[in-house]
Amino acid sequence: MEEIKNRVLQVLTDGNLDYRQKKHHLAYIAESTQDYPDISKEAGEALNEKIICDLFEGTAPYRPRYVLPDYAYALKNGVNYLELEPPTNFDEAINFLSILYIQVPSITGYSVYLGNIDTLLLNYVGDLSEDEIYKKMKLFWRFIDRTLPDAFVHINIGPEDNVIARVILRIERELKQVVPNLTLKYDPEITSDELLLEASKTVFEVAKPHIANHKMTAADFKGEYGVVSCYNSLPVGGGSHTLIRLNLKKITDLHSGDAESFISGTLKKYCKMTLDVIEARSKYLVESVKYYDTDFLAKEGIISLDNFSAMFGFYGLAECVNQLMKRSGKELIYGKDEEANQLAHLILEEMKKIVDAREVPYCKGNNGKAFFHAQSGIDIDIEETAGARIPIGIEPDIYSHINTVAPHHHLFNGGISDIFHFDETVKRNPAAILDIIKGAFRKGMRMFTFNLSNGEFIRITGYLVRRSDLKEFREEGSRYGSALFAANSMDNANVDNRISKRVISNEQVAGKY
């Protein structure tokens, strides 16, 4: 009790946190008084030692990690709980969504998915001119940034070229906000080159949108999908109860044999343990908390348990492979040497097989299985490279980079992202980016973004932070939850030196107290 009192006091008196952030952290401390869902002793130890990492989801899950409301359904049917009638025009639709966004839970306390916004709003355009749409959307965008200050808040556009998608890209370039994070669903047969070009120019300014291979991703889902948070793809009208990630570096440290015995023994054992944790947490949320019986989103059909699954993530593939190579007496490196790349591929395929072979309760959203996800990292990852990425600073030339990672992108129905780096000169020739995007998708990549050296925005592991916010945070705290995360990441992972930038999450913050 004394310990809890101290933790609470520390939060209450932390001048770098605002009122809302404090509330979030206090709730986390309160949750931590509960026993962890029922898992084996061994799994508990693995969690304690961060071999298996639950990303600070808390000991007693009382809301799903990621919720993707079916906003189209809500707009059509209204929301009783919020006393919202179906909107009849553009203003009403924006107002409707603005209210609903605030009510959608997630692990960070902020909604991680704001919908495929262009498709949602196109129905309400009526005879509005582009300029009128622009003015309305600009206010909407400001509202989103100021009320949902977390870079995991993610919105989607595309694949069709349309006036709203274009207006959004323009607004993104003008406002240069961290929130919302943005993904463009791209399909060469549907998306116009002009829209892709607009998107590329936007990336030069604000390091977003991310570009998703629409055809490939859509094929993994029964219904619609959304790209949320740190580039997780999940079913719309559902989401993920939890995301548990396995630290491949740490289990390689624990392993004392060759690559073959690693794959058949250690890897298998810890994958199973990770799945056990996923199962226990999902059950707790569904059976003990009864979230899906009680929340208004579920009651009104805006989400449905049938569209939910859970996520199996991992990180540190590069360190795992390099170490196994070293043990077999070979100085071969993931991202550089073919043999190492092959081993990486073998490990990923084995993991995918294990995940696909396991029935997990309450995972109907993915046919009873967990989604497989290359987790893009958080600030405490000092020694491990995000997901299946090539470590920062040793990325090979663009083609080798694509050829290394593209062959395994198809495995990740739960999402994966890679980051390519470009010199500033590419700004004068955005058509070059289009060539690379198209080439990368032709080679089977699922999702990626690119960064320019010296941009104003910094991408770190999963998301976006403004350079100036980072500096400010270190000095006096930031309005954005994610800035803390970023500051830690920058301090830990020499990301400052990295050729580019990327955003991160607010989720882990509470675990600090």
Partner: protein
Amino acid sequence: MSKLQANISGIIKSSVIDGPGNRIVIFFQECNLNCMYCHNSHTIGLCNLCGTCVDTCPTNSLKIDSENKRIIHNKNSCTRCDECIKVCPENSSPFYKQMSVEDIISEILEVKDFISGITVSGGEVMLHAPFLSLLFQEIKSHSGLKHLSILIDSNGNIEQKKWDSLLPLIDGVMLDIKAYSAKTHKQITGYSNEKILKSIEYLNDKNKLKELRFVLTPNYNNDESELREIAKIMKSVSPNVGKTLIKMRNHGIRKEFSFLREASNEEMNFAKDIFGQADIDILVI
């Protein structure tokens, strides 16, 4: 396929600065100008196997292969110190390679999914017109490559007729104009510019001039009358031809030309204004 070979000093598989889109760039060895500010002076000459570089190399990474008349380079021990290039009396290098059309095609095939086109650059590529003609025909008749655009980056110092066999195969030529007055041109490049001026006119008439560039070199081509003449030439070509004003950068140029000075902001603006007065839409880099 033909046995014809060309000396290739390098291939860059992804370039965003040699024409529109992402491009593979093939650099040819040997040039027929000798510009003071050349940043790749080791691509100007051909190796005569004098052996100076072999003796200079601190890691003994070079060997003369007299039978095949070439230099063998041990990539593993080489530390990329570039000493060999600096000492070469011929403005050449021990690194360029003989390649066939087939060799180059296979390099292009490797990256074809990622590029808009190919650019050939140098050295002076037009010294290899017959080779280029074969290469371009091969590209245009290859089902996986024929969509690629082809650009030539040339100094234009070539007889008019050499262009003819290539023009139907290519999308355009990017060309430098180093100076208008023959005297200044000779100072900067060692040669006069008659053929270059003719090439500009000819390519423009044929609708194949893609870009015209001018490198501002203080004390040589930056006085007002010279700039006005350059502006006239720029104005004489189609408005569709891209025009670029480039500030001469003096990093990477040969020691003996280290006296060259980069233009100040005022000097750049002065030149820019003259092009502006002539109503020329020019990109400054």
